[in-house]
């Protein structure tokens, strides 16, 4: 382990990436009073969930309020730049912490803000956060030396080199954020549907079924025809950790039935039609169907995971790009296959 002073010197030795840090939103107003902040979903570590906020006469409702304190602070800055009204609700789409680890900012600023989620999400955060916060404090410390060493060698391709250089440049900020985490947990849970009537706006929070996790919630604005999905939908390649393939496909069908004009994924570009949804449904059913057969044949997890064949769909996600193929493998193919095997064995995937 490199002592902290050494760390600082090391980081100073590398040129800064042109963007200041990995926690920057790009904002767009997709309908009057509806703002979406996206942290681009490329190779930059760590990934951060998209934030959406809705301004109405009564206040502001935030969907996924930021994955580290700095993102939440920046989201709050953006909110304040468009309205003086208070944030009344922060919705937590699911327990993965890149969507909610910064939201204490909202609690500190608006003491009566409601943090809203599905009961499963609240339970998951209550059970997991303490350990996760401890572990993540040392992530940079643990990974930085290896990154530096690799950069010192000359076996890296250009893409990997750029990625590692960026990580090293970002390391100080990442570490600072990870060391000042103070998660805030849901104070209000609902099942199926909760509707917030804020001024003349109708904001529907829907639990359409299991999917990426057991407690996924989407925000649906029926009049504006906008749906924010959390990680039920992620572009360009989905995340499959601890997920429920078949149920996820059914949940996406219900999502499709919402007559949306704009779909805001948990990461990645906005969608204006259902084509990507259809691809996801096809892929998830492919996983579930294949795994059902493999498990029936008595194959163990490792073997079954190996046998799962994504060739019918993979290129439609990756377009042949090497980085995306790697992401698709590590963040989707492998974990979703393991999840499917566990489910087929009668265990929980999460």
């Amino acid at each position: 382990m490199i002592p902290r002073l050494g760390l600082a010197l090391l980081m100073a030795a590398f040129p800064r990436h042109d963007a200041a840090d990995p926690f920057i939103y790009t904002w767009s107003e997709i309908a009057p009073g509806v703002h979406v902040g996206v942290r681009e979903n490329g190779p930059r570590f760590p990934v951060m969930g998209t934030t959406t906020f809705v301004v109405s006469g009564e206040g502001v409702v935030v969907f996924d309020g930021g994955g580290v304190p700095l993102m939440s602070e920046r989201a709050l800055d953006k909110i304040r730049s468009v309205t003086a009204r208070p944030v009344t609700h922060v919705v937590v789409s699911h327990w993965h912490q890149d969507h909610n680890w910064g939201i204490r900012t909202f609690v500190d600023t608006f003491p009566d803000v409601r943090i809203v989620a599905h009961p499963y999400t609240r339970d998951a955060l209550q059970q997991r956060d303490a350990d996760a916060v401890e572990r993540v404090r040392v992530v940079v410390e643990r990974q930085l030396p290896g990154a530096v060493e690799q950069l010192d060698g000359d076996e890296l391709g250009a893409g990997d080199r750029a990625r590692l250089e960026t990580f090293v440049a970002d390391a100080a900020v990442i570490e600072r954020e990870y060391r000042r985490l103070e998660p805030a947990h849901p104070t209000l849970t609902f099942e199926e549907r909760m509707v917030i009537h804020s001024g003349s706006r109708r904001i529907e929070l829907l639990h359409l079924g299991k999917g990426n996790t057991a407690g996924d919630v989407v925000m649906w604005l029926p009049e504006e025809r906008i749906v924010a999905t959390g990680d039920l939908v992620v572009r360009p390649t989905p995340y499959g950790f601890g997920s429920y393939p078949r149920e996820w496909a059914n949940t996406l069908r219900r999502l499709s039935a919402l007559d949306f004009r704009v779909l805001v994924p948990g990461h990645g570009e906005l969608q204006h039609d259902a084509r990507y949804l259809d691809l996801l449904i096809e892929t998830l059913e492919l996983v579930a169907d294949q795994m059902q057969v493999l498990v029936a044949e008595g194959l163990d997890e490792d073997t079954a995971v190996d046998r799962l064949d994504f060739s019918a769909v993979e290129e439609r996600f990756t377009g042949g790009d090497e980085f995306l193929a790697g992401r698709f493998r590590v963040w989707f193919k492998e974990p979703i296959a393991r999840a499917a095997h566990r489910i087929a064995r009668g265990e929980s995937p999460e």
């Binding site: 009564e58 206040g59 208070p86 009344t88 003491p111 009566d112 409601r114 009961p119 609240r122 947990h185 849901p186 104070t187 209000l188 849970t189 609902f190 099942e191 199926e192 549907r193 909760m194 509707v195 917030i196 009537h197 804020s198």
Partner: protein, 384 residues
């Protein structure tokens, strides 16, 4: 038509008559006099006493404000005040803005913490007409109810308020009906109905002004099945199992304290059964029973520490639902079912010798529960 019965004579009533009948049916416009008899001449004096000003602390940090006499005019729904570490959650907000202001004063005497959430148990005005006052006093308060209750507050709630105002604005017409013993279309009114209409004309004179002050303030958030609020170690569980007293009934369960706040699913005088869903209601009461409540806060009447009312409501509904189901299966008409229903034993049990409570039973149960059950069950051949 799907077989539901259009109560025959209401369709021949003019607007005033419908208003009167609607008020009688909905049972939410008024109450009854005290057990000692109707003190009509001192109605204004009794006005002051209509709500107990000293809340009862039923458990640490949980208070109930009810009427010292739940048969007082005008009827006020019970209000529960849950004081948490940093905020207060209130269940139901009273019958008029003036009544709500009294409530808010009482709350402020208990604690200076802000009310952050109001829960409305259902659409009857004596449970939510005070919402606007709470919003005024606590501008960021969330008002939560079941989704169907919100719709009903917007529709039935507005209509009911307008009807109450019309009645109070023209008591002469109602007095006429009471004295003649006949509805505007000439139909004879039952003793129970006449008693009830008389009570409507004996409300304090200030009541009309209070009604005019009501601004219907619908909930700001709704749920479908269950919504839980977390306050430190305390869980406040708001749930809806299905229709019952109304389409959108919510109960509030405090599992840590063993308290269930029932709205009008349970009333500790006589149940209000007009336009209700008896077969579903029976299921709701069984669900409440399955929670094993230590303390029950009814919609009206004293806080209960036993299950007498719960069990008696269940028995009453079991009898009526069974009677109506069998009758439908045998092809009997609503009129036959009403004639053959025998509620006399239940009347005795609820009335406990008090003739006024007996009349209340006639109005709120006797005249209403069989038609409600029939309408609920007939379109499905006897099943809800």
């Amino acid at each position: 038509m799907d077989g539901r019965v259009e109560i025959p004579w209401i369709s021949r009533l003019g607007p005033a008559g419908r208003v009167v009948y609607a008020l009688v049916l909905c049972g939410c416009a008024s109450g009854t006099p005290g057990k000692g008899g109707h003190e009509a001449s001192s109605a204004d004096g009794r006005d002051v006493a209509r709500r107990a000003l000293s809340p009862e602390e039923i458990a640490p940090s949980i208070h109930v404000v009810g009427q010292s006499d739940p048969l007082t005019y005008p009827v006020e729904g019970n209000v529960t005040i849950i004081v948490n570490d940093a905020d207060i959650v209130v269940v139901d907000t009273g019958r008029t803005p003036r009544s709500a202001r009294t409530l808010i004063d009482a709350i402020r005497r208990i604690s200076s913490k802000p009310v952050s959430v109001v829960v409305n148990t259902h659409w009857h005005g004596d449970h939510h007409h005070g919402n606007a006052e709470f919003v005024r006093a606590f501008p960021r308060v969330d008002v939560i109810a079941h989704a169907a209750a919100r719709e009903e507050i917007e529709t039935l709630g507005r209509r009911s308020l307008a009807a109450q105002i019309r009645i109070q604005s023209d008591r002469a017409a109602v007095v006429e009906a009471v004295e003649s013993g006949r509805a505007p279309d000439g139909r004879v009114l039952s003793d129970a109905t006449r008693y009830r209409l008389r009570r409507l004309t004996e409300l304090p004179s200030s009541f009309l002004a209070e009604l005019h002050e009501v601004v219907i303030t619908p909930p700001t958030a709704t749920f479908e099945r269950e919504l839980v609020m977390y306050r430190g170690q305390r869980r406040i569980v708001v749930s809806h199992g299905g229709p019952g007293n109304t389409r959108g009934d919510a109960i509030v369960h405090l599992p840590g304290e063993g308290i269930v706040i029932t709205g009008d699913l349970l009333v500790a005088t006589v149940p209000f059964m007009s336009a209700s869903f008896p077969a579903e209601w029976l299921e709701r009461l069984r669900e409440i029973r399955a929670l094993s409540p230590r303390i029950i806060v009814p919609g009206h009447g004293p806080v209960q520490r036993d299950w007498w009312f719960l069990d008696t409501h269940i028995e009453l509904l079991e009898y009526v639902v069974g009677h109506v189901r069998r009758g439908i299966a045998e092809g009997r008409s609503l009129a036959e079912l009403e004639r053959s229903a025998d509620l006399s034993a239940f009347r005795r049990r609820y009335a406990r010798g008090d003739s006024i409570v007996g009349l209340e039973f006639d109005v709120r149960v006797g005249q209403t529960v069989v038609p409600s059950a029939y309408n609920e069950l007939v379109s499905n051949g006897g099943h809800p």
